[in-house]
Amino acid sequence: MPLSLILALAGGLVLFAAVMARVLGRRAGWPIAAGMGALAAAVAARAPGSGAVTETVSWIPTIDVALRLRLDGLSFLFALLVLIIGALVMVYSSAYTSSKGAVGFYTLMTAFAASMLLLVLADDLIVLFVAWEFTTLCSYLLILRSNRKAGPPATRTLLLTAGGGLCLLGAVALVSNRTGTTELTAALNHEAWAQDPGFAAAAAILVAVAAMTKSAQFPFHSWLPDAMVAPAPVSAYLHAAAMVKAGIFLLMLFAPAASHSPVWPVMLIGFGLITAVMGALFALQRTDLKELLAYSTVSQLGLLMAVIGVGTPDAMLAASVHVVAHALFKSAGFMHVGFLEKRLGTRDIRELSGLWRSRPWDAVMIVLAAASMAGIPPALGFVSKELVFDSMLLLPAGSALGWTVALIASAGAVLTVAYSARMVVTTLPGPAMRPNEGVRTGAMSLAISLAAVTGTGIGLTVWLLDDLLAPAAAVSAGVGAGEIYGLSLWHGFNAPLALSAAAVAGGLLITVRRTAVDRLLVGRSLFPSDGTTLVQASQDGIIRGGRRVGDLTRTDSPAAHLAVPAVLIAIAGAGLPLLWPGWGTANVEAPDVPLFIMVAAGVIAVIVARARLAAIISVGVAGFAVAIWFFVLGASDVALTQLLVEILTVVIMVLVLRRLGREFTPTPRARRVGAGIAAAVAGVTAFFATLAFTGHRGLSPVGEYFLREAENDTGGTNVVNTILVDFRALDTLGELVVLAIAALAINSLLVARRPVSGPAPSLLRTPLADPASNAVFLRVLDRFLVPLMLIGSAYALLRGHNDPGGGFIAALIGASALALAYLSASSDENRRLNRPYRAIAGAGIIVAVGCGLLGLLDDSFLRPLHFDVLGVHITTALIFDLGVYLAVFGVILAALNLLGTRQGAQETAEGLPAPEETPVTVAAPVAPAAAGRGHDDGHSTEEARS
């Protein structure tokens, strides 16, 4: 089976797990375990021996990133570990977890396993990094979902491990840049590692730090005990095979290359030994079994890191054996603690007792696991510890240093024996405890027993592991498989055995004198501050720092934000003289001057206006002048659009006037002066910038193409419209989406924050100003005008392709008709405006996208199709324009609806059916009516939900 298929199946297992957990609840653990077992068999069938199996699936060819996979001795070992321990944990989970939340649990656990599998099989730096981050995220989510209090520890875990991820990213970038390839094997075999000490040191440090965070090494150790809020199966997997082993894998992977740098062994052995002793000491302090085991992992991984730092083939063999031994005894340990907690409701060694009486079988199992952890023969842990001591004594740097290292390691081993024994002697003897009712422990015991018995049994037959471990050690030591010695349980009487014996003796002594030791250690903090506090403090510090930086720009005054671009542009204007190309052609024509005067008059009037109404009218004046400008410049379509928009803008602004005071809030004098200066500078800059940057060249080639070819290409003679609906329809589609979003945004804003209600307009108090009787003329006129405008709207839509008109303009005309009907209505509660504006705007997008999909019939999204029906030329561009129509119509309708009526569209029920109801039947826009209605259903369900 190809490696890529195995990976794909591992991904498929995630989906399978989700489905199974939904159907079977917690019992899904069984089929998932079977799936993992099958995957392990598939991997085993590809056993690479001392060679390697490689495979490449193209991924991002342009930057030479591929899903390169490689199964060699090292990845084979870890892949099996991930899958087999995974299967054990799954079996265990089928009894441990609750069916509630089983879907999330099993999905994440299988995703965790799949990420680990990808990580160990990756033969590409990028893939390696991605898989590394996947494991980080999976463990974060698994910790996070475990219980309600898990938030802070999960975040601290993420903070540390993701920080390590950044180091790995740095290493990946550095290595791929220096070696010129992202292919892992090639990059690791590159000569730069040997020839460029600076590069080798930098890469070695980055890789080591990444691995240290992942494997919870000092000074990043705090997350692992912190993460024990996770349930037992998660902890078992995290500690035994998945998360922390990823760090060890990375070290073993990079060791042949990184050990070219002298920094590598110093760093690994130094921090590894510190962690080994410190972790063991902390473990001895704990009374919570789970915490004890967590610190034990910290300590054991420290030992592993130190021995990887030694780097000889012997050392790598020791590391490989210890990885397996640790996976077995640590998974058994964590599962056992979970079992105790589930069955007896506590995991504190001061409360536990009598396991020997109540569950002799499980008691034997934990004794086996603890023996392996302590390194008592014949367990596998004994074999690995012998090898570790042996390789340390033969340290290439010299025997004096070797002895020092081995003695420190054996000090850690003394403590290890002590805490392993403590785990046993405090829980086994004594009276049996009353178990909780209804806890099924069969599957749990099975999984624990498998791990524990294997861990011991395989020690007796350790030569069976030769084929598995020798190739792994060879890969990580960078030598041929022939240079690795075979494994055996008994090496004769030698120095490592003496160290082992001393460690056991010392550990047992501590155990015998444990009350005295407890008095010395338990509850006493050995460091001035513990890691968790430090991480939490740094996290809080980062957030505080971010807030402080944000404060620099945090103000609720719009002007403070709006002034920034104005000032920046004005400053940029100072550079204009450097770019000045001359005055250009003096393209002035007769109508320009009066138009300028009109605009200027409008602008000045807005600025000096105190009353809101006056300002709105003045803005309208400027807007109309601009519309005429457009007309003069040969853009009748644009001028029409501007004209209609101007009308509607004034209408909508007037709608909100009643909610605001009649006059503007005065601005302080100093600010007015400042604004005046900024305005003057901005105006001058704009003037010279316009002259400098525009009008110095003729018709653009693309503009000329449109003018010449629009009719041939599209059959339309209104070039602007053909650009909108044919040539650049994708742009227009994007704009439609913006419009529809604006409609939604207006809606949500007004739902979320109710509009202010201003003063009752005093106008209403005089009979002359009574809007009901005042509007009577308009109302009469309206009966004829509104239908006429709607017909005009439809006409503008239909002719848009060839003459001024089109969807935008047509929709604005239609909306103006509605606005007119609204203004002339006798009361606020005007039902005719109560149209499903959201559905209309949405229908616009659906119509436009649907029309675009039609274009796929002719090979391209949004390409218009052309037909001749009965001699009339028809193009799907018209349908697209209909989409434009609907979207524009929808947004204006939303505004009228929500701002015009008292409480938006919600409180319209009380309004009397007004006499103006008649035109309303037509008021549904002629063409879009069908589409709008088609979405009524969707709309009403949406209403019901909200």
């Binding site: 005054s557 659009t641 305005a679």
Partner: protein, 119 residues
């Protein structure tokens, strides 16, 4: 030249208005700014040729560039939608229970700002 002057006046008015205290004035400033930018787009297309890009076979020598026109047409509508959005922002934010209605009406924008900050 005159077009550049028009743009300059619009920009100056817009900058003045957006720096005012009353949010409704900021909205008006935004409207003026959109006019200025639209005219600038026209200016970029060249304003020597002012013929309508309509009908069969327009003469590129005298016809205006249709591309900026198409840009401006959609820009107008989008600016309109944004204007509506800004108008809605101008009328939301102060709760209805703001006691004295007159005070609410004359209420400074600062009130609004404080309330937003408190939320």
């Amino acid at each position: 030249m005159i077009l550049a002057l028009t743009i300059a006046v619009l920009v100056a008015g817009a900058v003045y208005l957006v720096l005012q205290k009353d949010f409704f004035r900021v909205v008006l400033g935004f409207v003026l700014l959109s006019h200025a930018v639209n005219l600038l787009l026209f200016s970029a297309g060249g304003i020597d040729r002012r013929g309508e890009p309509l009908g069969s076979g327009p003469d590129p020598a005298v016809t205006a560039d249709a591309l900026p026109q198409a840009f401006v047409l959609t820009a107008i509508v989008i600016a309109f939608a944004i204007t509506i959005y800004l108008i809605v922002l101008a009328v939301t934010g102060r709760p209805d229970t703001d006691g004295d209605a007159a005070a609410g009406a004359a209420g400074t924008e600062q009130d609004t700002d404080d309330e937003e900050a408190r939320r």
